[in-house]
Symmetry: C2
Subunit: 211 residues, 2 copies
């Protein structure tokens, strides 16, 4: 069978195919790369219409990454998708506690989701971090509530929870409150690969070496 | 903040919201559950138009799962997304070798993708398995080529690779050749959560216990 097998050739060709879909959005070079990678991860050019990069978000993420910030994710799939080798080259690490049995116990007792319990559990460790939420609206609502109450001060939020119950609302609130620099997606679409690809895109902006 | 926090309430409400979008597709109960979970994972009701369940695919997957089959995935995000506790209750396990340094070495030497090299490496272990490909068209092309050449005989393929270079073509070929029972998605959309949610949906059909 005859098909493109060389990884970088595949990636470069993908970016070329995506480029025309971004022409109408007046994006700078960094924004173009973030949009492209999120679209690449979904196979869905319609994302161009709904991606929302809050003012200063890319710069805030770059600064935090360069200072060695950690990333806290709501679900394991986001952690899996983030290029951890690249992150480690800046000094950071990804944390996710959804699979921690103690967190599950707390969640069960309090009748809340595990990802929400995990965010509460992280607490002050979220200061100066990047929070990457790809799945659970409840985790995003919780984090916004913690920021509002001045319990935590993260450097930025990548919030792309997915689905039909609370996802659109949580992302709308993220953008409306604009308490911290954010990147999000309007509506019901989203998911772990969208959050992870967004984080990876910003890391790849810092140098061209993919690690 | 006031929002739905109870996990099963969120899931049930999601499924209710998705239901009207499936009305036109004449799906049976099992198909409805598979479609619903794939749509739930993407937040994208447009998936209803492009999901394709090959003849006998759900039954073939159920049978394989009950016999304790293993699942082989192209990328770690698919492995992460599959409910491994549930799979273990049937006797199966998920394998992914993309992060294996030896596989990376082979891929580099042969100028092919790591996921493609991993599929070759699995070889006869793919017999009677479910192959779940959520990311790499090259892995799907490779598997189809191995089946065509009678090197392997998997029980079923869940093939939802994503993107703009080869993804649509690989999925089209999967459905056209119909060498084994398959579930796929037409076009460029897809991804790890789509593949994983499809596998999970079929597992949940086998009993109502989510584990």
């Amino acid at each position: 069978m005859n098909f493109v097998k060389e990884p970088m050739a595949i990636e470069n060709r993908s970016m070329e195919i995506i480029a025309p879909y971004l022409r109408d959005y007046k994006l700078n070079e960094a924004e173009t790369k973030v949009y492209s990678r999120m679209i690449h991860a979904s196979g869905d050019v319609e994302y161009a219409k709904v991606i929302k990069i809050g003012a200063g978000a890319i710069e805030a993420m770059k600064k935090a990454l360069l200072s060695g910030c950690n990333i806290f994710s709501d679900v394991e799939m986001v952690r899996t998708g983030i290029n951890k080798k690249k992150l480690a080259s800046f000094g950071g690490e990804v944390f996710c506690e959804i699979a921690n049995p103690e967190i599950a116990e707390v969640a069960k007792k309090q009748k809340i989701t595990r990802s929400m319990a995990a965010m509460r559990h992280f607490g002050k460790r979220l200061d100066n971090s990047i929070i990457a939420i790809g799945n659970a609206p409840t985790a995003l609502f919780e984090v916004l509530s913690m920021i509002k109450e001045k319990q935590i001060a993260p450097a930025a939020i990548v919030g792309t929870p997915v689905g039909f119950v609370g996802a659109a609302e949580s992302k709308k609130l993220l953008a409306e409150l604009a308490l911290v620099p954010y990147i999000t997606v309007e509506g019901t679409k989203g998911g772990s690969p969208i959050a992870a690809s967004c984080v990876n895109a910003v890391m790849y902006l810092l140098n061209n070496d993919r690690v």
